[in-house]
């Protein structure tokens, strides 16, 4: 089947050739010796004819290009996270069919993302409600319970809550192009707050305020500190250093330096060094650190310290 678009181009081409042929016939003649001779004027007439054809076909081309531009804009908008981006379907040609296909695909993506969001919300609800019951039950046990055991249970609940949070967050960051909150965050204050959760973490740094998602940036710092506590050794130090146009957040510990193989895979999801004794957590902590840093226009890296020790460094641009 010859398509509409193809027909248009085909007809335009045939028209052009016919015009050239007519031009050629009109502007040639037979000389006295019986040979066909082109008249010099044809050099002027042919470009003029080509120009006429160009002008005649311009509306068709312009309309086509505009529709393609609109389609391109919609694709770009979808790629940038506007899942409601659709394009108006005009005509019945290939471009119209492409627009229909795009709209169908965008609709499907929007549905899938909405379903994913619903799933995450439901999973969060289903997992956290029993956790709330356990926490309430611990409280209802009352004063008779052993305070140490009660504190241990509270710690376990907090750990489980954090695991749920990390798994759901990893899933959300992977699948949902949700820009998240955008607020002014005092990074030094945030670091001080997170360091205060531990008794032996030293903080040293400069004031740095930038826009970002405070919840995600808190998770970034908490994961770096949890990682140093679990796998590193004291003293643990957090440093905030201002670089030209960016801020560097480093969490240093004095634990044994990681091997080259380990350091390469550190930020992969679910990676856990095999020989680690205190193998707790989801294995998502550092991969989340990198995802959060990248979402804020920065990145995360590992540096070994001399003679031993580890430094986990996040660099964030100060102007997002």
């Amino acid at each position: 089947m010859i398509s509409h678009l193809h027909t248009r181009f085909f007809l335009t081409l045939v028209g052009s050739l016919a015009a050239f042929a007519v031009g050629g016939i009109v502007f040639m003649h037979v000389d006295d010796g019986g040979r066909v001779v082109h008249v010099v004027h044809s050099f002027i007439i042919f470009p003029a004819l080509a120009l006429c054809i160009g002008i005649a076909t311009y509306p068709l081309t312009r309309r086509l290009l505009r529709r393609l531009e609109r389609l391109e804009q919609a694709v770009d908008a979808l790629g940038a996270g506007d899942l409601s981006a659709r394009v108006a379907v005009e005509g019945r040609d290939e471009v119209a069919r492409l627009a229909q296909s795009f709209n169908r695909a965008a609709g499907r993506i929007e549905e899938l993302v909405a379903a994913h969001k619903r799933l995450l919300a439901n999973a969060s609800h289903e997992l956290r409600t029993p956790l709330a019951r356990v926490r309430l039950a611990v409280e209802l046990i009352g004063e008779s319970a052993d305070p140490k055991r009660k504190a241990g249970l509270d710690g376990d609940i907090a750990e489980l809550d954090q695991l749920i949070d990390e798994i759901l967050l990893a899933s959300r960051l992977d699948a949902v192009a949700d820009p998240g909150a955008d607020e002014e965050v005092d990074l030094l204050a945030l670091a001080a707050e997170e360091c205060a959760r531990y008794r032996d973490v030293r903080l040293d740094g400069v004031a740095a305020v930038r826009r970002g998602d405070p919840r995600l940036l808190r998770r970034l710092l908490r994961n770096l500190l949890d990682n140093a506590q679990r796998h590193g050794a004291a003293p643990i130090e957090v440093r905030l250093t201002r670089l030209p146009g960016s801020i560097e957040i480093a969490v240093d510990d004095a634990g044994p330096t990681l091997s080259a193989e380990q350091s390469q895979r550190l930020f992969e999801p679910f990676y856990r060094p095999a020989a680690t004794e205190r193998n707790v957590g989801t294995g998502l902590g550092l991969s989340l650190v990198r995802q959060i840093a990248q979402r804020h226009g920065g990145d995360a890296a590992y540096r070994s310290l001399e003679p031993h020790g580890n430094s986990f460094v996040v660099t964030l641009p100060l102007q997002a």
Partner: protein, 229 residues
Amino acid sequence: MAERILLVEDDARLAEMLSEYLGGAGFRVVHVTLGAAALERLAAEPCNAVVLDLMLPDMDGLDVCRQLRTKSDAPVLMLTARGDATDRIVGLELGADDYLPKPFAPRELLARLRAILRRRGNGAASEAPLCFGRLEIDRAARTLRIDGAERTITSYQFALLVALAENAGRVLSRDTLMDLVKGEALEAFDRSIDVHVSRVRAAIEDDARHPRRIITVRGAGYVFAKAQD
């Protein structure tokens, strides 16, 4: 007479435990599992406060909150497992008075419930108390509570605490703090900001030697923690 709390929660076991816990704290709890039932119940008999789960089987908790607001001015405390800032903001915009993510500390629920009841009792126009976990700073009444129990500090120290809490999550230098509390009646003795901060810490920290609410940032000042308990 005991204050009536309408508990809207679809998880029967959690609701049972919450009823027991809040009942033990002197409240009379009426429990419903559906949003529609909550709206009916509220129309039939008034209550002093509503504890509303955001995710209900029959309707969205946010819709319940919106409709509830048209029928009653009882304060609403939302419980949610979503932990999403957007839901919190939408909930508060729709008229909820406070928000608590699951799994919440029961004592924090109690403290917040009492805070919204007190605020409503004092008249809605009064300045909202600042709540950070189990800590409640009532700026209108100039009182300070942890787990609902009042703690005493001087007027100057209260102003210092309010200045810090109103700027939670930001490092404040000693000079900035002095500026913020300027105009407060001076203490009898010329104590430094650090001494006042340590007094405030003694009143609000669980362990004043390892503060979690007012944190010192070396060479920069103090920060009042945004996330507490």
